[in-house]
Symmetry: C2
Subunit: 340 residues, 2 copies
């Protein structure tokens, strides 16, 4: 498999990006195409033993920053590492593209300039794979691509999310739920009410509304919401998680007895941290664009980049793009028939 | 001061409710009117030394359960402890009402059957007071009363939230923000965009959009959102908090060395827990109804009930209801003038 990686993606690029690529090439045996500034990439590569690894460097002299406006980078930076990396996928020179860069820019460049949408997709969605307490992973989408969403988009998010959970994460008949302010059918806002009514009649293993608590308990596999709610939900999880870890650290530091206790318990702490660490997943796909694109966190370290590459190869091996195209066709077929 | 308490409110009622009332009467010296089943209330009172405390029992033979539908309880249970308790406030026989019962029912009974709205209020909102890491409290609203909200309602939530932060929590010139998926002005959904544009021109110390992370860091005092988003946000905080504490507990239990460490660090743990424990606040008001009504969590313990009563007396002492009426008049005056 050939995976293109945005070497200029993460906040600390190209260090974690190149190191992660090396880890991935070593562990998975794939060819990694490192897209970005060749001097800086080669400088990083030189620090490692990369003999026998399949690493190619594709030079570009432009990179996208976190501060770049998604609405203009497609035109203003036509040879960015994102643009070139996605073009490799579009032209069949790579099987997938992975970036820890500007998410909005990635969505815009994929949708409007390079890969474009899978036929039938109304709006691509940004997904997040979250590890939940019982070591399962769940998919939450949309987490930010569509702040205002329509019912028919949410229905497609449900279909695409379910296919990704099956073909990318290997879950059997994933359970689909709608994120809401209560599990009862009458809970939700108007968008959720309308979507709920339609999802009930679709063959999607829809289990109804779900609250954040049951979501983190792994009671559904695919959780659907609009991009505004999804983004705030994921950021609320992150905010509370880091707040608690920081509070614990600072309280323990102020108390010599607790310091000793903290040292004795540090392996337990580490196991907890690993369970909730988003870098163990690494990234999640832009669902609906016509090619596998995995987006990682800007703060990705090398492990996160390696794991994002793992998500890319799972999606490619699962035939994600073809499955979404077929799945959406079937749904629109059913909808047409039921309209008659 | 005379505070009416729903003795049949909490999940374990009337035990925590009555015990909390006794703690409050002892600490604050107020008269607490315990509304509910007099036999069960007196049975609880008999377990404590209540000499010299001002406790009155107001008997009702109906109570509202968490499973009751808010839409019908106002009519189907006209003598519930909530109904009677709010009527005491309406009739001037109590200064405030506190309940740990069914939130939706409390909102319906307050708005449609007893206290009704403060003149000028379009929609009452449910607020939450959250303690943040630096020991400050912030107000989040709406957290569930209005799943679909309009711009003009959100503007009123901002005004009411700011007044509560000043007159109930004692904050000086509270900073108002909109909960959004990014702090930049262009972030948000359509509702947030429209509200943002109008809030900028109001004299509210509006500081812009805020993300969950900065909210928990205490960078704003009043955070405004629609009831659907607010409810999911608060539930996401709670879900991640309890998930992490449970994970830590279970990992520590499985590891003898960590068990010892956990014991040594237990005071630090307790301090962290206390910092994020919602029971330290106890409850938050229904903002916009014409009387002080404080809603606590269904799982309230006695400490939470006592602290909810504390919130009630702070709001009464701060002249909350009058301040909201005046505040909304001033805003609608300004809006009218700017329309001319």
């Amino acid at each position: 498999m050939r995976i293109a990686l945005d070497a200029m993606g993460s906040d600390e690029c190209p260090v974690p990006d190149v190191t992660g690529a090396i880890l991935a090439a070593r562990e998975f045996g794939d060819t990694i195409l490192l897209v970005g500034d060749k001097n800086r990439i080669n400088q990083e590569i030189a620090k490692h033993n990369t003999k026998a690894l399949q690493l190619d460097v594709i030079h570009t002299n432009e990179a996208i920053f976190m501060t770049d406006k998604p609405g203009i980078v497609g035109k203003s930076k036509p040879t960015s590492s994102m643009h070139i990396g996605m073009k490799l996928v579009k032209d069949g020179d790579a099987d997938a593209f992975v970036t820890a860069g500007n998410t909005g820019a990635a969505m815009a460049i994929a949708t409007l300039f390079t890969l474009r949408r899978i036929p039938g997709v109304k709006r691509p969605a940004l997904s997040s794979v979250i590890r939940v307490s019982n070591d399962r992973s769940i998919v939450l989408l949309d987490i930010g691509a569509n702040a205002d969403s329509k019912t028919e988009w949410l229905l497609q998010f449900a279909v695409m999310g379910k296919i990704y959970a099956a073909n990318g994460l290997g879950l059997t008949n994933p359970r689909v739920a709608l994120l809401a302010n209560g599990e009862e059918e009458e809970k939700g806002n108007q968008l959720i009410h309308e979507t709920h009514a339609l999802l009930k009649d679709m063959d999607l293993n829809f289990i109804g509304n779900i609250e954040p608590k049951d979501m983190l308990a792994g009671l559904a596999d695919v959780i659907v919401c609009d991009g505004f709610v999804g983004n705030i939900t994921i950021k609320s999880f992150e905010a509370m998680g880091s707040t608690l870890f920081n509070l614990l650290r600072s309280e323990i530091k102020q108390d010599p007895l607790a310091m000793v206790g903290g040292l004795l318990a540090q392996n337990a702490f580490r196991r907890v941290y690993r369970k909730v660490d988003p870098f163990e997943v690494g990234g999640a796909p832009l669902l609906g664009v016509n090619g596998v694109v995995i987006i990682g966190h800007g703060r990705s370290n090398a492990k996160a980049i390696k794991n994002a590459i793992r998500q890319a190869r799972l999606a490619v091996n699962g035939g994600l793009i073809h499955a979404i195209e077929t799945g959406l066709k079937n749904v629109s077929q059913i909808n047409k028939e039921s309209d008659m």
